[in-house]
Each structure stands twice: as C-alpha cells, then as structure tokens.
Symmetry: C2
Subunit: 339 residues, 2 copies
Amino acid sequence: MTAAATTRRDVRARLATARSLLEPPLRHAVRRLATPVRTVAEYHFGWCDAAGDPTDAGWGKGLRGGLTLAAADAVGGSAASAVPAAVAVELVHNFTLLHDDVMDHDQVRRGRPTAGAVFGDAQAILAGDALLALGLDTVRAQPAATAELCRALLDLVGGQSADVAFESRTTVGLDACLTMAAGKTAALIAAACALGALSADADADRVDGLRGYGHHLGMAFQLTDDLLGIWGDPAVTGKPVGADLRRRKKSLPVVYALTSGTAAGAELASLYAIPGASTDTQVRRATQLVEQSGGRDWARREADRHRLDALACLAAARPGRDGAAVLAGFADLATTRDH
Amino acid sequence: MTAAATTRRDVRARLATARSLLEPPLRHAVRRLATPVRTVAEYHFGWCDAAGDPTDAGWGKGLRGGLTLAAADAVGGSAASAVPAAVAVELVHNFTLLHDDVMDHDQVRRGRPTAGAVFGDAQAILAGDALLALGLDTVRAQPAATAELCRALLDLVGGQSADVAFESRTTVGLDACLTMAAGKTAALIAAACALGALSADADADRVDGLRGYGHHLGMAFQLTDDLLGIWGDPAVTGKPVGADLRRRKKSLPVVYALTSGTAAGAELASLYAIPGASTDTQVRRATQLVEQSGGRDWARREADRHRLDALACLAAARPGRDGAAVLAGFADLATTRDH
C-alpha cells in the first residue's frame, strides 16, 4: 500500500470514529425539536424514513465535525470538550444542506429523496432554521465560539447569495468566483478548525493558524470538487459524466476558462449561451474546452497551492506530532479524493 | 379622550421612541452582510428599493423590540443596556417574516412586494438565515440571552411547522391549535420581554414574570389578530373582508367553531371542504357560522383572559410604577387594537 493510501485509510478511520462520537449528541440535540419539524430533521439525517420509522441511512461523512475534533486534538484539547463545537458545526452544515436543496430544487440527497421532496419546501426550510438555532445554542457557553460560528455563517450566506446571483449573470469574474467559494465552502471548514482550537482554550495564534488551515483546506476541497464535477468517474461519484457542465454550472475551472481570453473560452461561452438542455455532444465539447483553455491545469495547481498553504498555516498552529499528521492527511485527502 | 385612548397614544409614542432608538443599530448590524444578500435584507427593512437605492418605507411597528426596552425599564434596567437584546429580537422577528413570506408564497409585505417577489425565493431564504445569525450574534456576550432566544426560536419553528402541517389536515384540535399559536406567535414575544429583564440583570423570578407576561400578551395578540382576520374593517386593516375565511385559514376562532360540535360548526366544515376559490357569499356565510358556533365570543373571552393573566404575571415581576403602566398599556393595546 502506498503512503498516500495509508494516510487516506487513517483519515477515513478517524472520520468513522468522529461520526460514532458525534452521532449520540447530534441525535440528542435534534430530539429537542417538536414534531413535525423534528421528523423532518431526523429524516434529513437518515435516522427515520418518510413515515417517521427508524432507519439508519447515514448522515454524511462528518468531515467538518471530524475536523473540529482533530483540530482540538492537535493543540492538546480533549475530544470530550470539543464535542459540543463539533456537533454545532455539523448542525450548521446540515442547516445549509437543507436550505441548499430547497434553493436548488434538488430532489436527491445522499441517495434518498430530499426532505423538501418528501415533506415540502416549507418544512425543509423550517428544519434548516431549527438546526441553525440548535447549532448556535450548542456553543452558547463560549461567546468566542458563538462569534466564530456566526462570522462563518455570515460569510457562508454571503457566498451562497453571490452563487445564486451568478446563475442569472452571463459573466462572472474569477476573483468574484473565488470569493464566493471562500464564503460558501471554506468559511465553515475554517470555523470548524478554529472552533476545535477554541474548545481546547488554545492561544489566539494557534486558533488563527487552524482557521487558516481550514480556509485553505476548504478552497482545495472546493477546487477538487469542481474538477470531479467535470472529470469525475460516474461509477465513483454517482453523478452523470460532466455533471456540472451539463447543468452549465459556473464552477471555478469553468469561470477560469470563460475569463481566459482564449478561443476555447469564447467557444465555451457560446456553448453555455445555447438555451435548453445540454446534449451529450455539447457536454463532451465543453469538457474539452475547459481543458484546452487551461481550466483543468489551473484548478489542479490552485488546489495543490491551497494544500501547501494549509500545511503552512497548520505549522504556525504548532500542532502535536500525531495531530499534525492527521490534519496533513485531511489536506491530502481533500486534493486526491475521487468522490 | 378616554383612558384607553390615552394609554394607546402613550404606548404608540413609546413604540415610536423605541423604533428610532433601534433603527441605527439595526442598520449597523445589517451592514455587516455582503452584497447581494445585504441589499435583500435592506430592501426587506424598507431601507432601499429593488435597485438598492435608499428609501424609507418603514420596517414595522417595532412591537417586539419595544417590549424588550419596556421590560428592561420596568425592572430598573437602562435602555442602553437593553438595546442589543431588542435589536436581536427585531432581527429574529424579521428572519421569521422573510421565511414566512417564502413559505406562504406571499407577494406583499408592508405595502410593498416581498423580498422573495423582488429577488427570488433563494435570496429571501438567505436574507432570513443571515438575520437569524446576526440576531444570535448580537446577544452572544450573555449566554443566558442566547439560551432564551434559541429556546424561543425552537418553539417558534415548532409552531410554524405545526401550522404548515395543519394546512393539509381536515381536522385540527383546539388544543393543538393553541399550542401552535403559543409557539408561532407568543414564544418570541415572551422571549422579547424576558430578554429585557435579563439585560437588566433582573432576578430569575422577575425574568420568569416578564416571560409569562409576554406569553399571555402574545396569545392575546394572536387571538385579536384572528378576530381582525374575520371581522376587521378592510378600510383599517388593509385586507379584504373576511380575509382569513377567504383563504380558509384554520385560525383560532375557526378551529373553535369547527370543533364546537354545533350545527353551525358542521356547516362551516362543509363550506371549508368545497374545492376552488371562495365566493363572497361563502365568505359571508362562513363569518356568520363562526359567530353562531360561539367562535367570536370565545376568542374575545380568551383574549381578555390572557390580558388579565399577562397583568398577573407582570405583577409577579414587581415592576416599577411607570414600567407597570406602560406594559399594562401594551396588554390593553394587544386586545383593543383595530389593525
């Protein structure tokens, strides 16, 4: 087995441990809700079916909560004291998923109909609102943690709002798109890491270092996600070939191509401007054009640059040896994952 | 001028003062948001038009924030120390309005197109999310205030979720409907009053007393609202005659009628079951039937009972003489208002 494969296996094992540690308090938090919104939230987490009967469909990878626990561990904190922050981060992350699905009219999440598809948009919006409130309530004892999470929320909502606005614009600048991704994806991952450090009462420079690590990890994660949205193997990602191009998404490699000033970029712009559903031929051509304009190489380089920046920030947080290895493993996974 | 009219004038003056005190910090909080979601929030508050140009359309009565200030004053607190809590309450209230309008597909709010109608549902959902985060961030320095506001939020969302579920049910019990109203309307008003007391570092029994006052005030407010939704003067309320019956809303007097076991209640149930838009004749008949089944008298009696219960809770909070008069005035206004 290669070193990278070992790291990946270790990080996945770490995430599995985090998931089993976080699930009981997550369930406990959601049980504070009254029905029917409680059923909607429990359905979203995969803990019950549409009729409210118990199931175990799985509530995701637990990446963000896992990062909170790993960040706490890296600066000498205990998992026990980091659990509330990690639970808060997962509650907030799931709030964003519930609202995202409503806003995007998505019908499937984690292989099941979305909460909105089952219970209606109104109940899905309310379940998201409830998880947001629960998340902030979970860290209320530490005002600095509330401030960290609220700041991330404002960045996150700002990024989502820009993303929605981009959909109806024909031109989007690369810088604006990067700022959007920093808000939409990196802000909560940055906060997840900072919250881990805060739960360990770490010094401000260590908190800052871990926040920076999380920011760059989040950017690397998003760039890799965008690459998989174009070149991901449908057998592994579970999405159709060129999924993002088919939906004419203005993902980062696409915006790079569109703003590259190349002939390929101009041709991609005309392809994106054709009304109606994309044909397979168009999707194949768009894929070539993003590559020809340099969008694929740029995104790979940027993802790797952010991975290295993440490691530099991590070093500034003076992590313990084991913690450093685990967080470096997370950074590696973010850029080498295949789904 | 009658004593009631004097009280009403005093309370309205108090609210106008509260509004002018709260507007600058509210604007300041919203300015933390990035565009475009900031523009959506500012539009909702009436501070700009759809193009983002400044206007002054007014952001509502400021009832909840005004209650926070009045509650603080009643237990010897200063307005200055109560302002953050009052701002938080107004931010949270406006979060609920933004999401309510999306969920109800409402097109008009405060005489203008809703934020959703102008900017789309996604931006309106995000603006609501942002105001919720800002609201909780505003009180983060006082964990007890965060707990109070989060508890109210969970009750509120629970009430809204029940309300949405009621729409697709043919029978709704009166108790379930009262619990729904306690969540949807009374929870935030109760928290508004408790937060005022908390900002004044009042003893737990005074906080409890003011929370109870707010709960009963909220219930009286909702019952009066439901009466106005049927018998309100269109010239004063700005809504069509029998607005709630036209939309076949299961408001409290209606649910009383439907569950009254009277012939009038049974006839109302059949009227509500007719598919398609209501005719004027049907609305007139439904109005008579709610009255004949005792729904109007019951709602009036209940509103007055809650007003008296509010005053009893208020007394338990041992308010100063001026503060007691003002809060009694609020309770009076809640049950005697005409719009």
